[in-house]
């Protein structure tokens, strides 16, 4: 990684930044304060405009989705961004203001739609209230004529006309009145009462005691007419909504334009964000950043081609970001590494080792030739059909390689969809004694029968894995010229572990090896006791430090036993597949039995794939992170994040100018 400083003329700023963004070669440093003699250019206003436009388009897309959801569902996320010709950018820019006005129109329509819906709900409640007054032929808010006082309202009780008259008369026998009941139901009576103007106050008193109330929101229109008007209005709003929806629907074909415009503004906002952080003088401006060593020439050539500028490179310090570079085999595993932490200063890039062991262990845990082939084929098709972006492609590739390893291990363990070939043979031939071992022409290692052997093999692989990790530590120490740490702290432990392994192997194979292993192990242990206290002061301190270091052997043992999960997960996949096969063929040979078998077979194996692929993935990762990385890997680096097109939907084709 190098640092780069580009000093260029202000007039070339737009062109230069555009090219830098397209090429994604530089990570631009952000410095809080400008150096003396230079100043910042405030670009926050145009930036805000662009960001607002991005939000507008996001809203517009949501509105379009509410009317016509985009097809594709889950698989759509696999799809790569659409490639756009660099020349198309001008066109997009020219169209952008039109697209933004479409988005604004969409927002308007959507607002109208929701306003209208709210209004219609209000009308509906009003209509319900008016329902009781349909027979009334005077306006609801009538209070008087020249000679009579008019009371239109409700009583909180159910009255017939006679009952109401009686009730009023009982309150005040002197009152003269005429009444008309428009509607009566349980606990409510809608009525009109006419009394002479002279008895108005008397009537008010009587009615108050009876709980009379004038209707809410009374209007000057006759209820029937009012209802009619409201219905008309509601209908008109409905039609308006339909039209609005139609208009939104008519804009659905512009979805892709809106997406492209969104990206266009997103890219521009990014660019202005960078300009905000650059130092400007009257005539020139300065870009400082990081660039990978291999790209220096390319960057220099690019800058000099598009702008009048000077480009200087310097070695980057410790704070430089890291860009991982690996071959095709190891690249998919980079994601696993960065999920842990990108390599820090002085770290080896462990991706190739990580990749190999990841594929290897995943295969051993998932261990089924049928599942493995399925993974390879399905992912192959997905890669062809969807052409996903780099990150997604790497993830898929990771599992494709894992699939190959799974297939190989499946063949070793004699497992193809569990024991499907054998159990299907038994099902159709009516036999019961066919097994995978008889069916397969090569010798297989059955995890159920040879569980102990497989356990030993798992731990042996674990030993290799750990030794490789310690080997990396050795190399790192050696590179930093810390020879004591390389040979004493790492080398002796490696030898000790090898000695113990030889000793253990000797117990089963040949007594000579026991002696050899014991000699190596004891020699190393003595070496460790002598050297591990070297940092301490005084003879006693050194001796205690040395002896105490031997206690580390427990952590190595627990690390090694952790690899028994290779056996555990491998066994689980096989057994679960077998149980599903057993369930599937249980119903016997009949039409119903056959249908049952097909359904259970497919569903069961899908469940098994889902569960055990996830388990294998996670536990493989754990073996890498906890058992291997703890031996040598520091991490803590920062990922190289170049100034680039952070677009969601489109990517610019690389031009080979």
């Amino acid at each position: 990684m190098k640092t780069v400083r580009i000093v260029a003329l202000r007039q070339d700023r737009k062109r230069l930044l555009e090219h830098l963004q397209d090429s994604a070669l530089v990570q631009i440093k952000r410095v809080e304060k400008s150096r003396s003699g230079f100043e910042r250019v405030d670009m926050s206003r145009p930036m805000q405009v662009f960001e607002r436009n991005v939000t507008l388009t996001e809203q517009a897309l949501k509105i379009l989705d509410s009317v016509s959801p985009e097809k594709g569902g889950m698989l759509a996320s696999l799809k790569g961004r659409r490639e756009v010709d660099p020349d198309e950018i001008g066109e997009i820019a020219a169209k952008s203001s039109e697209v933004i006005s479409i988005c604004k129109r969409l927002a308007e329509l959507d607002k109208k739609r929701s306003d209208n819906s709210a209004e219609r709900t209000r009308i509906a409640t009003q209509l319900v209230q008016l329902e009781a007054w349909q027979k009334l032929d005077i306006p609801l808010n009538t209070t008087e004529t020249k000679s009579t006082a008019v009371f239109v309202g409700t009583f909180p009780e159910q009255y017939s006309e006679a009952a109401l008259k009686e009730a009023i008369a009982a309150e005040n026998p002197k009152l003269e009145f005429v009444t008309e009941i428009d509607h009566s139901e349980e606990a409510m009576t809608c009525a009109v009462i006419f009394v002479p103007q002279s008895q108005r106050t008397m009537a008010e008193d009587v009615l108050r005691t009876l709980g009379f109330a004038r209707p809410m929101g009374a209007t000057s229109k006759i209820p029937k007419v009012k209802s009619e008007r409201l219905r008309e209005k509601s209908e008109r709003l409905r039609l308006e909504n339909e039209m609005a929806e139609d208009e939104i629907k008519s804009l659905v074909p512009r979805r892709s334009d809106i997406k492209i415009t969104q990206d266009y503004f997103r890219i521009r906002a990014d660019k202005y964000n960078v300009i905000n952080n650059l130092d400007h003088s009257k005539h020139v401006f300065i870009i400082e950043g990081f660039v990978p060593e291999d790209d220096c020439e390319k960057l220099k050539e690019l800058c000099e081609r598009v702008a009048t500028c000077t480009v200087d490179f310097e070695d980057a310090g410790d704070d430089a970001p890291v860009k991982l570079k690996n071959n095709k085999f190891a690249e998919p595993a980079q994601g696993i590494l960065t999920m842990y932490s990108p390599p820090g200063k002085g770290d080896l890039d462990p991706t190739p080792l990580l990749a190999f062991f990841f594929y290897f262990f995943f295969g051993m845990m998932f261990s089924d030739a049928g599942y493995g082939l399925l993974m390879v084929i399905v992912i192959g098709i997905a890669l062809k059909v969807f052409k996903p972006d780099k990150k997604m492609r790497n993830n898929l590739k990771l599992f494709q390689y894992c699939g190959i390893s799974t297939t190989v291990w499946g063949l070793v363990f004699g497992s193809i969809f569990g024991d499907a070939p054998a159990s299907l043979y038994n099902y159709f031939a009516g036999t019961t004694d066919m097994t995978m071992a008889k069916l397969l022409p090569w010798p297989t290692l059955d995890p159920q029968k040879d569980a102990l052997l497989l356990m030993v093999i798992s731990i042996a692989f674990g030993l290799v894995h750990i030794l490789v990790g310690m080997g990396c530590k050795f190399v790192v120490c050696f590179r930093e010229k810390d020879y004591a740490a390389a040979f004493f702290d790492t080398g002796l432990w490696m030898l000790l572990l090898i000695g113990l392994a030889v000793l253990a192997a000797g117990m089963f194979l040949a007594p000579v090896l026991v002696t050899v292993g014991a000699v190596i192990a004891i020699g190393c242990a003595v070496g460790l006791v002598l050297t591990q206290g070297r940092g301490k002061k005084g003879i006693v301190g050194k001796a205690i430090g040395g002896l105490a270091s031997l206690y580390d052997v427990t952590s190595y043992i627990s690390d090694l036993l952790s690899y028994s999960r290779l056996l555990a997960l491998g066994l689980t996949t096989g057994v679960m597949a077998q149980v599903f096969n057993m369930l599937a063929t249980m119903m016997g040979k009949s039409v119903v039995g056959f249908i049952f078998m097909v359904i259970i077979f497919i569903a069961g194996h899908l469940i098994n794939i889902g569960l055990n692929a996830l388990g294998s993935y996670v536990h493989t990762m754990r073996l890498q992170y906890v058992e291997m990385f703890s031996k040598f890997y520091e991490g803590g680096g920062k990922e190289f994040e170049p100034f680039s097109l952070q677009s969601k939907y489109i990517k610019i084709q690389e031009d080979n100018k």
Partner: protein
């Protein structure tokens, strides 16, 4: 007297206890997930994965129970002797108890994972990995039960 009763008791223990663990785990996780989904239904896929993680224990228990049924004469095989029946019972305790408690523990971890990925969906994979780490203990219990159960019919006891 043969060991049929004890074998069937073993099958029940394996299936039921591990099932209870999973049911509690998945139930708690599902409650948390539905809370998240009521706010943002687009997270359904992720929530589903986290909710289902504590569901494996029940499956392990079922497999052990099923294998016992297959080898003790209910769905095939021959009736076990008394000693074999007791062996089935003993073997089923591993996945029964292991599944019960690991399922509950994993359910709690899943609830936290759901809360974490609701805040920021980038945290989803970390949450998933952490929740799956509990799985290994159910798996080990399952392996022990399994290795014993498949050996019992061959034992001359």
């Amino acid at each position: 007297m043969d060991g049929m009763f004890f074998a069937l008791l073993g099958a029940s223990i394996a299936t039921a206890l591990a099932g209870i663990g999973s049911a509690k785990g998945v139930g708690g996780a599902a409650q948390a997930a539905m809370g998240v989904l009521s706010e943002d239904s687009s997270q359904f896929g992720k929530m589903l994965v986290l909710t289902l993680l504590p569901g494996t224990q029940g499956l392990y228990g079922f497999i052990v129970g099923f294998l016992i049924l297959v080898s003790c004469g209910v769905l095939g095989g021959s009736a076990p002797t008394l000693a074999q029946g007791l062996c089935f019972l003993g073997a089923s305790l591993a996945i029964g108890l292991g599944g019960l408690f690991s399922g509950i523990a994993q359910g709690k971890a899943a609830v936290s994972g759901i809360a974490m990925s609701a805040k920021d969906s980038k945290n989803f994979s970390k949450g998933m990995v952490s929740v799956t780490l509990v799985e290994i203990y159910a798996l080990l219990a399952f392996i022990v039960s399994l290795l014993v159960v498949i050996q019992i019919p061959n034992l001359a006891i």
